[in-house]
Amino acid sequence: MRILVVEDDEVAAEYVKKGLSEAGHVVDLATDGDLALEMASAADYDALILDRMLPKKDGLAVLGELREAGNATPVLILSALGETDHKVEGLRAGGDDYLAKPYSFTELLARVEAIGRRSDPTAAVTKLKVGDLEMDLLARTVHREGQKILLQPREFRLLECLMRNAGRVVTRTMLLEKVWDYHFDPQTNVIDVHISRLRGKIDKEFETPLLHTVRGAGYRLQPA
């Protein structure tokens, strides 16, 4: 993906750029709001990582002008302002996701990849497939190797989130936000317990595990 990182803290920006490049993305940097607007309008990016507090032009203002101009590039808002209402504000302004500082880089990567432009629009998808694991979104059924797997509604949503991001890391916070719609981090391992239950259903009786734990980051659903 081609990603524009807008961040006034150059050290942080370099780290983000380095990390994203290592993950195989092409990264451009902008250090202030005006420049960001100019670059985002000029080139066609697959995703934008936008800091809220920027010199010259506030991040939300940049986002507003982009959206007004009809630019639909997915935007991940990055900010030190972590309160829930700030998140809501950011998402209302046209952001696709919101990440509060401090973020772990894996979290950032996972989220950018999740919002990044996909070849096929998600709305048209009725079936998801990862390896031999199949999910029918209409019939709400899951099969592996032709064997039907019974899932609780929440487990279904958990698996759906993982399958939609197959091959990419999904963090615990992302799962908590997208599956449970909670915007706080529990101190205990609630998500791990749910994952291990899901794992018990989709992986236990099969030879190759699909659901992997990524240390210090989260989980990844990947065949082999």
Binding site: K101, N189, V190
Partner: protein, 557 residues
């Protein structure tokens, strides 16, 4: 019948309530006192007018009568003396003439003189009547024909035994003067009579009365008194009416300020008092309140800005630190340094989450999120949480049960409520699970007086009674829990959330007793802990019946 009765009672109750409200209104009381004072001063003014017009007229009449009486007495005496003298000159009266004859002569002379005087005087139509009562034995003999014609109900003579001035009100029946034709019509007119007993040789010989028709004065007086009463009553009535009007108007303006205060307390810092720019004291109060609110708003914004800036300034380097540690950890791969680096990154997370919690509690305490509260069925929130935490409880070897009733409603913010209950559940898992407990129970049900209680109870070690207040404070951790991970902010956050929701945070012994009753023997010193969030009864929204909502509001408070 009963329906009409109830209908009758209802407005009465309302009236009593309205009256009670009015009487509590300061402006109403003040303006009622004002209108009463006005009524009294009106009465005084009218009394002065009455006095100058009616009383002084009557005094003038009385004075005139007194003068006439004196004159008549003089004439009477002179007439009698003259008659006696004439008789002596004529030889009719000798030394031998008995006293009674002499007296008769005297009387006759006096009487004739008076009659002559009266006839000579041109009497005005409202009749200055003069009459003389004579002879103690008589019940009252009129001296003049004119007086006779008046048909006065004369008082008896015997009752006058004093030398003082006599004052008598008598009724004269006279032919009405303003009747055109036909039978004569008589009317009774009041006559004021002033009299004096006539003594000769210490013996009362008669009484002279002078009277005057005072009917017109009296009537004027009565009309004036009626007018005075009526106008005073009208003045007081209008005064009460205008008091009610002014009081209501004033009450509305005060109510609008009270509503403003309530709104601001509820977190709507952008509300301002309505002004009418009349520069009166209410308007000035509104202006000052608005100024104060602007100031508070500015301070809040400054605080928020400072908080945000600190957050930003602190988080940026911490993010860098964290990213570096993480990158290093990933690069370290399977080397043992990776563990240390991941742990260091975890510490940075811990630091930031503590910092976040402090900021969050501060914001909750500022109450600015109160406007986000809306009616909510806690079941939807609690079911989700129960579902999220059930596996974690089982994982920790705890038996998790929940009983969440349907049809409850509270004013709450989903995110904040979730976080508070989540904190309490995590505490229960952490402390009960780590302290030998085996049960966690989440319940939500109706409490007393329409309140809603959400309870998280466990059978762990619990919190001693004397520590229960202390643990709500920030960074307070009990000795027993120091070995467990945590920042001491969990309960402080729950307390702040409870405050924001105007809910009570109640701590109590938990499931320990229950377990002992169930026959579990190893529960010595482990009463467990029950934490309850008691939400106030939800106030009905304004769209529904207003009076009903008011009553409910009063009950809820």
């Amino acid at each position: 019948m009963s329906a009409t009765q109830r209908k009758d009672i209802q407005p009465l109750g309302d009236l009593a309530e309205t009256l009670g409200r009015l009487l509590r209104n300061t402006v109403f009381r003040l303006s009622i006192v004002g209108s009463l004072l006005f009524g009294v001063s009106l009465l005084v003014a009218q009394l002065i007018v009455y006095d100058t017009i009616v009383s002084s007229e009557e005094r003038r009449v009385e004075q005139g009568l007194t003068e006439e009486l004196t004159e008549l007495e003089l004439l009477f005496a002179q007439g009698g003396e003259a008659a006696l003298r004439a008789a002596q000159q004529n030889g009719l009266l000798t030394e031998a003439t008995p006293q009674s004859v002499a007296q008769a002569i005297f009387d006759q002379g006096a009487q004739q003189t008076l009659q002559r005087v009266i006839t000579l005087r041109d009497l005005s139509p409202d009749v200055y009547s003069m009459f003389v009562f004579k002879d103690e034995s008589a019940t009252g003999k009129m001296v003049t024909d004119e007086i006779e014609a008046l048909k006065i109900n004369a008082p008896t003579l015997t009752q006058y035994d004093t030398t003082d001035l006599l004052r008598e009100e008598v009724i004269a029946t006279v032919e009405a003067t303003d009747v055109a034709d036909g039978d004569p019509v008589f009317e009774e007119r009041r006559v004021l009579a002033i009299g004096h007993a006539v003594f000769q040789n210490d013996q009362k010989v008669g009484v002279i009365f002078v009277g005057r028709d005072v009917e017109n004065i009296r009537r004027t007086g009565e009309r004036m008194r009626r007018a005075m009463t009526t106008s005073s009553l009208i003045a007081v009535f209008l005064g009460v009416l205008s008091s009610i009007f002014v009081a209501r108007r004033f009450a509305r303006r005060v109510d609008s300020l009270n509503k403003l205060a309530t709104d601001v307390q509820a977190g709507h810092l952008d509300r301002r008092a309505p002004r009418n720019y009349s520069e009166d004291e209410m308007d000035r109060l509104a202006e000052h309140l608005n100024g104060m609110l602007d100031h508070i708003d500015r301070l809040m914004q400054a605080m928020r800005y400072a908080g945000d800036s600190v957050a930003h300034d602190l988080r940026t380097p911490l993010t860098r630190l964290r990213t570096r540690l993480e990158t290093a950890a990933v690069e370290a791969g399977d080397k043992p340094e990776a563990d240390v680096l991941f742990a260091a990154a975890g510490d940075a997370d811990q630091l930031l989450s503590t910092f976040d919690s402090v900021l969050r509690i501060a914001r909750l305490e500022a109450g600015e999120r109160r406007e986000l509260l809306k009616p909510l069925d806690p079941k939807t929130v609690l079911d989700d949480l129960a579902e999220l935490y059930e596996p974690a409880c089982e994982d920790a070897g705890l038996d998790f049960s929940y009983d969440i009733r349907d049809g409850l409603t509270i004013m709450a913010d989903r995110g904040l409520l979730s976080q508070a209950v989540s904190n309490l559940l995590e505490n229960a898992i952490k402390y009960a699970g780590g302290g030998g407990g085996s049960k966690i129970r989440l319940t939500a049900r109706k409490g007393a007086r329409g309140r809603v209680s959400i309870e998280i109870a466990d059978d762990g070690p619990g919190i001693p009674v004397f520590d229960r207040e202390r643990v709500r404070e920030r960074f307070v951790r009990l000795d027993k829990s120091r070995t467990l991970p945590g920042s001491g902010l969990g309960l402080a956050l729950v307390d702040a959330v409870a405050d924001l929701h105007q809910a009570e945070l109640v701590m109590d012994d938990g499931l320990g007793n229950e377990a002992i009753q169930d026959g579990e023997v190893d529960h010595e010193g482990r009463p467990g802990l029950s934490v309850r969030l008691v939400f106030p009864r939800i106030k009905a929204t304004r769209q529904s019946d207003d009076s009903k909502s008011k009553k409910q509001g009063e009950l809820a408070d």
